[in-house]
Symmetry: none
Subunit: 208 residues, 4 copies
DNA sequence: CATGAATGAGCCTTCATTCAT
DNA sequence: CATGAATGAAGGCTCATTCAT
C-alpha cells in the first residue's frame, strides 16, 4: 500500500519541495497553506509532516536550497585563477545565473523571505553573510592591489548585493531574456566599485 | 463639544500610527495584531477601527506615509538648478536621509511590505515606479548629454534603487552614524552609472 | 444649546421612531444599527439612548405601536351594530387597512419580529392574543347563532389571522393597489369560516 | 482507510445538522453560535467548517431540507388521479404532515427564516414560489371547471399558504395532537376557496 | 439635554498540527 | 509509511452601550 518502490523517500521529499516552492512563490509565505502544498504534491496533508517538521522549516529549507546552490556555484567559478576583479565579476555572474535558473525559488528568497518568520530571516542572514564575505574579501584585496579605489569593503559588498537583488526582482516580474541585461548589470557593478571596464573584458559576454 | 482632552482627533490617529509602526516593525505584518497595536496606543481594540478601516489599510497608510515624504523631499531638493548628475545625486541623498530619519517606517517599507498583502504590494509598486521614473529620466538625460555612457536607463535606475535599499537595510540593523556611509553610497552610485567623481563635488559632504 | 423650543421632546422621539421604522424595515432587526437610526434621525448616537433604553425596546415599541393602532381601529369599527359576521368582516377590514397604511411598520411586525429577541416575540404574542380573542369570540358567537357551522373558534381565528398576514406580506412586496385585493381576501375569509356571501354585502366594497 | 468510527462521513454531517436545527430553533438564527452547534454535536468548532462553508449556508441547507421534503411529498401525493379539488386537498395535507413530522425544522423555516440573511430569504422565496405555483394552478383549474367560483388564483394560493403556516405555528407551540386539527384546517381552506364540502370527502380523515 | 468618541465583549472563520486507522 | 478528518487556539472585526464634555 503505497508506491515505496521507486522514488519512495527522496521522490516524495522533492515533490513536496517543488510544490512548496510554487505555492510559496504564488501566494506568499503566509497565504500559502500546508494543505495546498500537499495537494499539489498529490499527497495527504499529514504526509507533509512526515518530511518536514513544520511549514516554517519547509520554507527555510527552500531558502537554504537556493543559497547553497548559489554559494556552491560562486565558489566553483572562482576556482580558475585571474585577477581579483575577474573573480568578483565571476561571482556576480554566478549569482545572477543561479537565481535566474530557478525563478520560483528566487522569488521566494528575494520577495517572500522577509515576510516569514524571524527564524527564517536569521537563517537567511547567515547565508547572505557568507556571500557578502566573499564579495567583501575580493573588494578589499582589489583595493589593496590598486585595482579599485580604497573604501569600505563591507558596505560596497552590500551595495553590490542590493543592486543584484533588484536586478533579479526586476527580471522576475517580466519574464524576458536576461543575458544582455546581465552584462549591463556587470558593467554597472564594475564601474560602481571603481574598476575600469577593460579589466574584465576577457570572458566576453555571458552565455547562458 | 469635540477636542476631547486636547489633541482629540489627530492625536489618536497619530498615536495609533506610531504604535502600528513599532509593532509592524518589531513583529512583521502578519505577526502584528490589531489588539497589540491598540494596547500600545493605550486604546481599546475597537478604537483602532475608528481610525482605520482595517489592519491592512493601516499598514498601507504607513507605507504611503514614508514614500510620500520621500517623493516630496526628492522633488523639493531637485528644484535648484545644476547639472543632471547633480540632480541625481541630490535625489539619492534625499532618499537616504528620509529613510534614515524614520527608522521604524523604513524597516516596514523595506522589509515588511513584500510580506504583506498583494494590495499593499501594488500600492507600493505604484509609488516606487514614480521614484524610478525620476531617476530613469535623469539617467537618460545624463547619457544624452554625454555625462555618462549610454545604457538602459530603466535598469540602471532600478540598480541604483536596489543599492540604496540595501544600504538602508544595512544601516537599519546597526544603528550607527550614517553621514560618512552616505558619502560612500553616493560615490558608489555615481561611479556605477559611469559619472566622473568631480562632476558632483560642488555640494561637498552631506550634512545631516 | 439645542432646539428645545418647538417639538423638543416628543418631536425627537417621533423622529427616532420614524427613522428606526425605516431602518428596521430595510435592513432587518439585526442588521439595523443604532448608529444608522440616529443618523437618519439627524441626532447623535448617544441621543438615541435618551429616548429608548435599548435597541430592543425601541423595536418593541415600534411593534406595539402598530398593533395598538390595529386593536384600536378594530374595536372602533365594531362599535356600530350589525350581525356578528358583519363585525367580523369589519375587523378584517380594519386590520388590513391599518397595516396597509403603515407599510414600514407592517413589514417590521410581519417579517422582522420573529427574527428579533424572545422578549419582543412574547410582547408580540400578547398583543396578537388580544386580536385573536376578538376574532375567536365573534366566530364562537356566529357559530352559536347558526350563522356559520360549528368548529374550533380559536383555530379558525388563527387561520384567519394567518391568511391576512400572508395577504399583507404579499401586498407589501409589490406595492400595488389593495382595495380590490382586500375584497377578495374578505370573501375568502368569509367563505372559509362557512358564512354565506350575502351575509355581509351591506357595506359594499372597501373604500380606502 | 476512511469510515472513521462507523458512520464517519454522513454521520457527522447529520449530527451537525441535527444540532444546528435545535440550536437555531431554540435561539434563533442570530443568537445561535457556531460554537454551540459544534458543542452540541460533540465536535470542535473547526469541524463545523468541514461540513458547511458558513453558518449561513448551514442554515440555508436546513431550510431547503424541509421544503424539499415538502415539495417532494406534495408532488408524490398528487400522482393518483382525482378531481382538482382532491389534489388540492392532498397538497394541503402533505404540507401539514411534513411540517408536523419535523417540528425542529418547521420552527426554523416558519419562524426564523425571515430573520436570517437576505440570501436565505431569497432561497426560501424560490422554494415557496414552487409550492405556490402548484396550488395556484389547481385553483385556476378548479375555477375553470366550475368547481369553485372564479377569482385571483395567485392570491388565493397565498392565502391558503398563510393559513397553513399559521396553523403550523399554532401547533408548534402547544405540542398537542394534530389529526383533528388538520381536518378543521382542510375544511376551512376548502370552504375558503369556495368548494363544497362533499367534493373531497372521499379520502376520509387524515391518518398520520 | 445633546454629543460622539471610546469601549470591549463576542463571534465567525482559518489553518498548522496531530493521530487513530 | 500514508491518510485526512478532527482539533482548537487565535485574530480581525462589529456594534450596543456608556460617559466625559
Amino acid at each position: 500500500m503505497g508506491k515505496s518502490g521507486r522514488e519512495g523517500q527522496a521522490g516524495r521529499q522533492e515533490a513536496l519541495l517543488a510544490a512548496a516552492a510554487r505555492v510559496f512563490a504564488e501566494r506568499g509565505y503566509h497565504a500559502a497553506t500546508v494543505a495546498e502544498i500537499a495537494r499539489r504534491a498529490c499527497v495527504a496533508t499529514g504526509t507533509f509532516y512526515l518530511y518536514f517538521p513544520s511549514k516554517e522549516q519547509c520554507f527555510a529549507q527552500l531558502v537554504a536550497l537556493l543559497y547553497d546552490e548559489v554559494l556552491h556555484e560562486v565558489k566553483e567559478r572562482r576556482r580558475g585563477g585571474g585577477s581579483v576583479l575577474v573573480k568578483l565579476d565571476r561571482s556576480v555572474r554566478a549569482v545572477l545565473q543561479c537565481f535566474r535558473q530557478r525563478r520560483d525559488l528566487a522569488s521566494i528568497v528575494l520577495l517572500q523571505a522577509s515576510g516569514a518568520t524571524k527564524a527564517v530571516q536569521e537563517r537567511l542572514d547567515t547565508i547572505e553573510a557568507e556571500l557578502l564575505h566573499l564579495l567583501a574579501t575580493d573588494l578589499a584585496e582589489a583595493a589593496q592591489d590598486g585595482l579599485i579605489p580604497p573604501g569600505d569593503a563591507d558596505l560596497r559588498a552590500r551595495l553590490v548585493l542590493g543592486a543584484m537583488r533588484e536586478a533579479l526582482v526586476y527580471g522576475l516580474r517580466q519574464s524576458g531574456e536576461s543575458a544582455a541585461e546581465d552584462d549591463e548589470v556587470r558593467r554597472f557593478l564594475l564601474w560602481a566599485v571603481g574598476g575600469k571596464a577593460a579589466a574584465v573584458e576577457e570572458d566576453g559576454a555571458s552565455t547562458s
